[in-house]
């Protein structure tokens, strides 16, 4: 085999068959393009991202198309999701001013969550956010919102002050703190926001692939298949654990977004 296989089914490797363990690596994340337009390749993660977008837009459109005073079933589910973000994130972190941002936060939360959930849906089974460009695009959106709100609320001078300044510092520390605050607020924040989502999804997908490949590899017509069973059980367990992590990461992404927004809105810090 010249190139390592992306999918588990492509490797017909078993133990005792003079065949090294096909360890999953970065090759598990590179897909052959479904179709190409010129040099533009349309791959599986892109398809999944589009499907996630359609699911989120379609669901909320269907739920709130004709809002009724006494909600129907779909509207009820939509309202539960909306009030979850509104109460537990926007109100608690930003306060009264946060009501304006609930639609933004809700879209981010559900888009990230559905993208993560794709990791465990049969046939999809790939977390879109484990390709770095997707979380980067989302973090860039959050960063632009953060910058826009900072400069809109405080003006140019106040905005710069809000980003790099701290009150009541001894004089010799000022250059250091200004540098660190700038680094933290302008560079590290969007970077860590993107990396957190990416690395969690990457590591989670890698774990599931690892145990799935191992259970396929260890499967032989002998007593040794017990190990394959153990590996399979672990794969199932990891999948269950991933459900928790996926929700948590979407929640944390939204929580940090609202924290940045509240930092941009408040008077000095």
């Amino acid at each position: 085999m010249s190139t390592p296989a992306t999918l588990l089914a492509e490797s017909g490797c078993h133990i005792n068959a003079n065949c090294a363990f096909p360890a999953p690596g970065l090759n598990s994340f590179n897909f052959k393009p479904i179709f190409s337009i010129g040099s533009f390749d349309f791959t599986k993660p892109m398809l999944l991202a589009v499907i996630c977008m359609l699911i989120v837009v379609g669901f909320f459109w269907a739920a709130f198309r004709k809002p009724k005073l006494v909600p129907g079933k779909l509207q009820l589910v939509g309202e539960i999701g909306y009030t979850f973000i509104s109460r537990s994130i926007a109100r608690d972190v930003i306060g009264k001013k946060g009501d304006k941002f609930v639609p933004f936060l809700t879209s981010i939360f559900f888009f990230v969550w559905i993208m993560n959930i794709m990791s465990i849906i049969p046939l999809a089974q790939f977390p879109v956010a484990s390709r770095f460009a997707y979380p980067v695009a989302l973090a860039l959106l959050v960063w632009l919102t953060y910058m826009y709100l900072t400069f809109k609320t405080h003006g140019f001078k106040g905005g710069v002050k809000n980003l790099v300044w701290m009150e009541g510092l001894p004089k010799p520390l000022i250059p250091l703190i200004v540098f660190l605050e700038f680094l933290q607020n302008v560079i590290t924040r969007p970077f860590t926001l993107a990396v957190r989502l990416w690395a969690n999804m990457f590591a989670g997908h890698m774990l599931i692939v690892m145990f799935s490949v191992a259970s396929w590899y260890l499967l032989t017509p002998s007593i040794m298949s017990a190990f394959a069973g153990g590996s399979f059980v672990l794969a199932i367990g990891m999948t269950a654990f991933e459900i928790l992590i996926q929700f948590l990461q979407a929640y944390i992404f939204t929580l940090l977004t609202s924290l940045y927004i509240s930092g941009a809105l408040e008077e000095g810090h």
Partner: protein, 83 residues
């Protein structure tokens, strides 16, 4: 520099092989491990002492967890940057 070379020579002479990135990630995971333990431990203690403050505590718990966790994740990312 020479210490690093000695380590490499030692590794070569004793037949230890592998990726140094794995060791580095193991080291990078120590601090966040302690940090996450502290965050959750103290949050649970706080929730037990004052159950009515649970929503606020839980929210700040996840915030602290996220800020600690990212250090370990940066350790995961570094080998990809330098490879």
């Amino acid at each position: 520099m020479s210490a690093a070379l000695e380590t490499i020579n030692l590794a070569a002479s004793t037949g230890v092989k592998g990726n140094l990135g794995a060791v580095a990630y193991g080291l990078a995971a120590i601090g966040p491990g302690v940090g996450i333990g502290l965050v959750f431990g103290h949050s649970i203690e706080a929730m037990a002492r004052q159950p009515e403050a649970m929503p606020v505590i839980r929210q700040n718990m996840f915030l602290g967890f996220a800020l600690c966790e990212v250090l370990a994740l940066l350790g995961l990312v570094v080998p990809f940057i330098f490879s």
